[in-house]
Symmetry: C2
Subunit: 130 residues, 2 copies
């Protein structure tokens, strides 16, 4: 494991991008960032943890919504500066209510369109105590 | 199109990460970085262009190997700070000779293993004039 961590090249801010993919359908669910701490937690707890660059804190994916990502496999790329995690996604990955964060598509006629389907109500999922 | 570009949030260095995915199998092939210039070229020429952070230059994927990536669809995520491009991959995406750059896996018993299959000889693909 030490070898694996030694191989990885983190960005100057200590993070590495992590692509999250559905292990069954291969749908890309999101892109997040991990630092070494969140990667260790991800490996040991088998639930995806990110480093939130905007909030400056460790972030267990699903901690508020319950939409956890259970790790099935962890890959790293030829340059060792990107991760790919195949996961079992509970609910939806996107805080806007979609299965994937990549729910918008740029079309050939130069427009944007919604390509994904809304599968939950984000207001309910993220404001349970409200 | 202007709206699409205006929506996107590039990093401080002017780049945005772009996940490249096989449009048929949904295999994730690589993660690269684009700046606005390379994204415009990608859209207009329908071939993936990156901004090489290490070489500091525009990079048409496949320019040396012939392993071009023809764009099928372009998605962007909820935070508009990551792209997902579904492509038709000629040959392999990885300069090491694999179909995907994510050819190494971190195993449950804390080792790393080769998970991908080598599909071409990188020495031949990248040194045609040698």
């Amino acid at each position: 494991m030490v070898d694996f961590l030694k191989k990885l090249k983190f960005n100057k801010d200590g993070t590495i991008p992590a692509i999250i993919q559905d292990f069954q359908t291969n749908e890309v669910l999101m892109l997040g960032y991990m630092n070494e701490h969140s990667l260790l937690k991800t490996i040991l707890m088998e639930k995806v943890h990110f480093w939130s660059r905007s909030r400056g804190k460790l972030w267990l994916k699903g901690e508020r919504s319950g939409h956890f990502q259970t790790v099935q496999e962890i890959y790293f790329d030829c340059d060792a500066d990107a991760l790919l995690l195949k996961v079992k996604q509970r609910g939806g990955a996107c805080h806007k209510g979609y299965r994937s964060c990549f729910y918008r598509r740029f079309t050939k006629d130069r427009k944007t369109e919604i390509a994904g389907e809304k599968i939950f109500n984000p207001e309910k999922a993220y404001n349970k105590d409200a």
